[in-house]
């Protein structure tokens, strides 16, 4: 009993406190600016449901993270296949009428006990889990082409289902994450290089007239308006344009907390300002200083994740941490990139910051898994 207590305390102190600090900072920033994005002026007093909901989701996410950090990640790796197939089943269920919920023409949601849940968020984490398990298995040749094909095949199942919803952004995140994991696992360069070429070819094909068969019309339209936002300023180019105006008008030091106008006046639509377009809200109110500081915090957290991957006790733990880091990186890069006109609008939230329940829980679950790897890391002493 006493020994178990001691183990508990050791686990506690072995946490990656810098990562916890960074994640907490991001959560606080997120909550503050969801407050700002849903704030409607002093006289109305309306903050909206976004803010209070987000607090509950953050608490739920923190509890999940704590539980996962306390559990040995090997337990989750062992049940990785089960979790993977379970999430595939959930992804398939959203298409079943009566279970899945159609929102804005997409089947992304299912309602469990009255709470809307996005199975794709959990599928991302379970895909990373199963890839970490497979790629670290002593049974496979890591440098072989077969391994690359296997990893791609494992990724392709959830990718296809998510793309079918359709949710291009979330699906697209899986590809670079898988590539990063393959790279870290030691895959041969020629395959990775070939993969990169294939990816470029796919993008080019999607944009060509042939792409009609591959992507939905609105997805094509989004990519095309990304290439030329003035193509349709009140249509799909609108958000990109208003987002750039919000970010650009923030200037060097921003307009101050609650002083941003783009979301309050509705130029940044109120439905997306606290979610996918939270970054322009932050950039408008805190300027270049605040926006780049936020990126620094993300970079710091990524560094923590990769340090965990470096110090991990076994390859599976290392790959798990790398995969979660890949997910985090893709989300941040795509989300920020799309709001500042570097990438097409894909509808991807910003981890730890954007409003969104399932996404918050899955982000913090990933964080908990990395912590679980970290506390059980290789020790220099002992």
């Amino acid at each position: 009993m006493k020994k178990r207590m001691q183990t508990g305390w050791r686990l506690f102190w072995a946490q990656d406190w810098l990562a916890i600090l960074a994640a907490t900072a991001l959560l606080v920033i997120g909550l503050s600016f969801i407050y700002s994005a849903s704030w409607r002026g002093e006289d109305t007093g309306i903050v909206g449901a976004w803010f209070s909901k987000q607090i509950w989701w953050a608490l739920l996410g923190a509890a999940t993270a704590t539980a996962l950090a306390a559990t040995d990640y090997k337990f989750w790796l062992r049940y990785g296949w089960w979790l993977y197939f379970a999430s595939l089943a959930l992804l398939a269920l959203v298409f079943v009428p009566g279970i899945g919920k159609k929102v804005y023409g997409a089947y992304r949601w299912m309602v469990i006990f009255g709470v809307p849940v996005q199975p794709s968020e959990f599928a991302k984490v379970t895909t990373v889990l199963v890839l970490a398990r497979v790629l670290s298995s002593p049974l496979i040749q890591r440098r072989s082409f077969g391994t690359v094909l296997l990893a791609l095949g494992l990724m392709a199942l959830p990718f296809g289902l998510i793309l079918k919803e359709p949710d291009l952004g979330t699906a697209a995140v899986l590809v670079p994450t898988t590539v990063i994991m393959l790279f870290a696992a030691g895959a041969a360069f020629r395959y990775l290089f070939g993969l990169g070429m294939l990816g470029l070819g796919a993008v080019a094909a999607a944009l060509s007239p042939l792409g009609r068969f591959m992507l939905g019309e609105y997805q094509r339209e989004r990519i095309l308006t990304f290439l030329d936002p003035s193509r349709d300023p009140l249509g799909s180019g609108w958000n990109a344009l208003q987002s750039a105006i919000a970010v650009g008008s923030g200037g060097w030091s921003g307009k101050g907390f609650l002083n941003g106008t783009q979301n309050v006046l509705g130029f940044l639509p109120r439905t997306v300002a606290p979610t996918d377009f939270i970054f322009p809200v932050i950039a408008e109110e805190t300027g270049f200083i605040g926006a780049s500081a936020l990126l620094l915090v993300f970079a710091f957290l990524l560094t923590c994740y990769l340090r965990t991957a470096w110090t991990a006790k076994d390859p599976a733990g290392s790959l798990l941490a790398t995969g979660i880091a890949g997910l985090l990186f893709c989300h941040v890069f795509v989300n920020v990139g799309m709001t500042i006109g570097l990438l097409p609008i894909t509808g991807l939230p910003l981890p730890f910051v954007s409003s969104g329940g399932s996404f918050m829980v899955s982000t913090l679950a990933g964080f908990g898994l990395v912590q679980s790897v970290h506390v059980r890391r290789m020790r220099r002493e002992v």
Binding site: G41, S136, I180, F183, A184, G186, A244, I245, A246, V247, G248, S249, G250, G251, W252, T261, Q262, V264, L265, G266, F267, A283, G287, F288, A291, S292, L295, F298, A299, L302, T303, L306, A309, W310, T311, A312, K313, D314, P315, S318, T322, A325, F329, V332, F333, V336, G337, I340, G341, L342, M378, R380
Partner: protein, 638 residues
Amino acid sequence: MARDRFIPEIHVWRLLVAWLAMLACFGALSFRLWNLQVAQATEYQRRLAKQSLRSVRLPGLRGRILDRNGERLADNRPSYCVSLYLEELRQSGGIQRTVDNVMDSLYRLAETMDRPLQMTPKDVRLHLGRRTPLPLVAWRDLDETAVARFMERAADFPGVALTVEPVRVYPQGQTACHLLGYVGRADEKALPDVGDDDEPEKYHYYLPEMAGKSGVEKRLDGVLRANAGGKLEIQVDVAGFKFDEVSSRAPGKGSDVTLALDVRIQRAAEAVLAGERGAVVVIDPRNGDVLALASEPGFDPNDFVPAIPAKIWNGLLKDAARPLYNRATGGEYAPGSTFKPVTLLAALHSGQIAADTRFTCPGYFQLGSARFRCWQHWGHGSIDLQSAIRYSCNVYLFHAALECGPEAVQAMARSVGFGRETGISLDFERPGLVPDNAWKRQARRDGWRDGDTCNMAIGQGALLVTPIQMGLYVAALANGGTLWKPRLVERIDSANAVVNEIAAEPAPEGPQWVERHIRTIRAGMRDAVNEPDGSGKRAKLQDVVVAAKTGTAEYGVKGSGRKMTWMIAFAPFEDPRYAVALLVEDGVSGGTTAAPRVKQLLTQVFNEVEGRSLPLPPPLQAVPDPVPSAPAPEEEPA
């Protein structure tokens, strides 16, 4: 070596490469952020302002117009309006729902205030489409009862408020209407630019603003109108509704204009013309101040605020008496005998005759085959110059004019300001006409003849003058030879307390008179009033010596008997303070129509302005309709 502390399956360098690649991507994001937020910040801030800021020009408070004693001639009064703030009444789900909600408020407001509904759903929709961030003014100029009814139940009407707009008012009603003019809705494109910076300010919206359309209101519009109207910046949301009012420049207040006019004299001047068509000009001979400038009939400038009803406007346009027309500055009339002092001064100045030169008047003057009659058919006998003025003898004038020649008379007429605009600060002025050889060749294709000289000598023929010219001319006779530029505006008090005093100034090219000549003329004019047989005896006052000259000018078709009746007068004789030129169209004669009116006017002026107690003359008699059988006082050349 740390490497052996870690498991060999983890490729540290691969993690390092992945880490550096991720950081590089973040670096790209930062670079792009720098580009947007630092390099192009101004451009994006401009675009933000363009899409979310709307500027509104707020009309300034129009300056007042005061008379010389501070009496208000034009002022502003508050007009109470009920305005609907659409951003508070908007409904989600289609514009029609907002229109319905606004109409619902309007119906209930109409019922509460017991006022007819003035807006249709179409009006509301139009306002929602074009002037979304501005309040919808549903009722203007509400009376106290309606305002009280609204205020009682204001809490039941969210998004509705009582607002106040300034409205032009003319407290004196018709008095000085032609002089003051009137205001009308300003043309937005013609609004003066605000000189904040080099580029003129453009506004998204303009509120109803008044601009002077005639008279002083028009001529001094730039002074009366606040030079910089206010500017309100409205922050609008994506649907165009008002979110906030960002910054504003308070509308300025226009300058107050103080006129040289004395409203008491103006009222008296209009009173003596009541019911007639005519004009009165009263000038202070000491400085050229325009003390009164009346034209009858007139109109009520209050009818023009905020917009004149079509019925009244058409009535004014169709009225044969032309009430909108300012006879005092725009009416051109033959001066008749009031011109005689000009002829005599020209003759004296030329040296061809002297004050004691006598001519015999047998009642007519034979010029070749033409016979020019004196108005007194049996003649005046042998008379001197002073008596010629006293009796207004035509024959003496024919002799005098022919002695000095037409050029001398024309030059003298021009030197007293005839034939050119006086430069009074009003929008509508005519120059009149001093005919000469060149004019006659061009207009009549004929040379100048002695008959023309005779006609001009007695103020007939093609000679035309305006009442304002006559007022300044008689002022020059009164003060001994200074022709003033009329001073209508005494000073301009701008809102920031810079007072602009406008000094009296003599007109350029004024007359050069010899003192003993003008003394004789003045004596003749004194005799004309104060001697029992003078032509202007009906203008005689009890205690004040008045000097005057009457005039009766035939016009229109020969023998129609239509006459312009004049009197020019100044008083007191020794120290003239008032110079009057009075014209009545289609009067009987200067002595019977104009003289009693001048008497009435001067009596009121001395009683009311100077506190004298002169006996009031009997009430004025209306001028009978023109009778063609009345004997013509002057003959046309045969």
